[in-house]
Assembly symmetry: C2
Homo-oligomer: 216 residues x 2
DNA sequence: TTATTTTTTTGAACACTGTTCAATATAAAT
DNA sequence: ATTTATATTGAACAGTGTTCAAAAAAATAA
């Protein structure tokens, strides 16, 4: 029965067609102006057909946000080869994370500020075990273990990674929401922020914290 | 001509009536389901009349968000009398800030994540001079000057305040967006986050940083 | 008080929105 | 060729923000 396979393939192709049309429209007029009729118009079908492939508009948006999340993760993983100390690598990775996030600010904003359950399945980071499921947290944990958290328990490293990530998320979100354009200003504030974070990590290590007083 | 005064008063009263109707509707069905017709229905007028008092729906929403911002500021200023060291006062204030923000999470989310120009006139914090215009930053600067930033320049204290605030904003935003309910979990993560921040402040002071290398 | 002007209010319409559903066209299976 | 299953549509429903000419109400002038 190769027919069913083909049917399924065609169905998925049409779903992709709808999604890519939606993506184009979003790029042109923003996600707040995406509409079923605009999608239908672009793929030269009646609006009703879309409900044959998706349950509702939300499912389309959630699909695109999931795609967007994957693109963000991919972009964030694109870090050139580093041949310096683990501490420097950590700092450069943090800088890189913020830079990449700001370079795709619209997408980052929409995806990372979404409170859709579907999207949060990928974007939530404040839970025990996040270091196993979230690439960003996982990467951060690795970098921390190589630098300032060598003697910390895995549980504690995860907490520190979550703190560092949330802190950077706050900065990134403010920079995007407030619409800052001045590159020099951004550069300066980002550097200070990261220095502030690393400062804490450094003193943590020096004072031999890390394990001990961690209790959920 | 007391008539014109009365007219103006009545006009403002009707504006208030519209706004409070809108506020009620938002509390009942959420801001995403607020509509002009629902407002009109509640005040027992035709939808069109609303455009005699407001330019468009956006102006109404922005008005409410401005009100909301004022309520947030007010709530955040409600900090009981403290009779401990400046360091402890700072820490308790940070804890209090997060606690209050989480207690009014829906409002905090809507207001602080808004990218409306009107709202950002009140909520933006990442600009030079924020310590003079933003209550939260101002308060933070004062607390920092009394504790870990005694010998820092005003410019640098402002930067540190912005960093601390952004960092907490990130944590609060994640906690709200991810919809965490478990109070113990929240408590634990909040404490770790604040300890992380204070750790940096402490080492900053010990290492005699603060002035010198600040350059915009 | 009457007439005129100004302000307030409305009904109806326009151009959208998401969504549903019976009817139809197309393709597959018998 | 006929039945079954799938794909597609037109039309409608109920809602959205917004505009505008017309009507009602109130204030001012004669």
């Amino acid at each position: 029965m190769g027919v069913k396979d083909r049917k399924l393939r065609e169905r998925n192709q049409k779903k992709e067609l709808i999604l890519s049309a939606a993506k184009e429209i979003i790029e042109e007029v923003g996600i707040e102006n995406l509409s079923i009729r605009k999608i239908a118009n672009r793929i030269e079908h009646s609006p009703a057909i879309i409900y044959h492939y998706f349950q509702d508009k939300n499912e389309i948006v959630d699909s695109l946000l999931e795609e967007g999340y994957k693109r963000i993760v991919l972009a964030l993983e694109s870090l050139g080869p580093q041949d310096s100390t683990p501490e420097q690598i950590l700092k450069e990775s943090l800088m890189n994370y913020i830079e990449v996030a700001l370079a795709m600010s619209e997408e980052y904003k929409i995806v990372m500020l979404s409170d859709s359950h579907v999207v949060l399945k990928h974007t939530s980071v404040l839970f025990k075990g996040a270091s196993l499921e979230r690439p960003a947290i996982q990467m951060l944990c690795k970098l921390l273990k190589n630098s300032y958290c060598e003697n910390c328990s895995d549980d504690y490293v995860e907490i520190v990674a979550q703190i560092v990530w949330s802190s950077m998320f706050g900065l990134i979100t403010r920079l995007i929401l407030e619409g800052h354009k001045d590159k020099q200003f951004k550069q300066s504030i980002v550097e200070h922020h990261i220095d502030f974070i690393i400062n804490s990590l450094k003193s943590m290590k020096n004072n031999g914290l890390g394990d001990a007083f961690y209790e959920i």
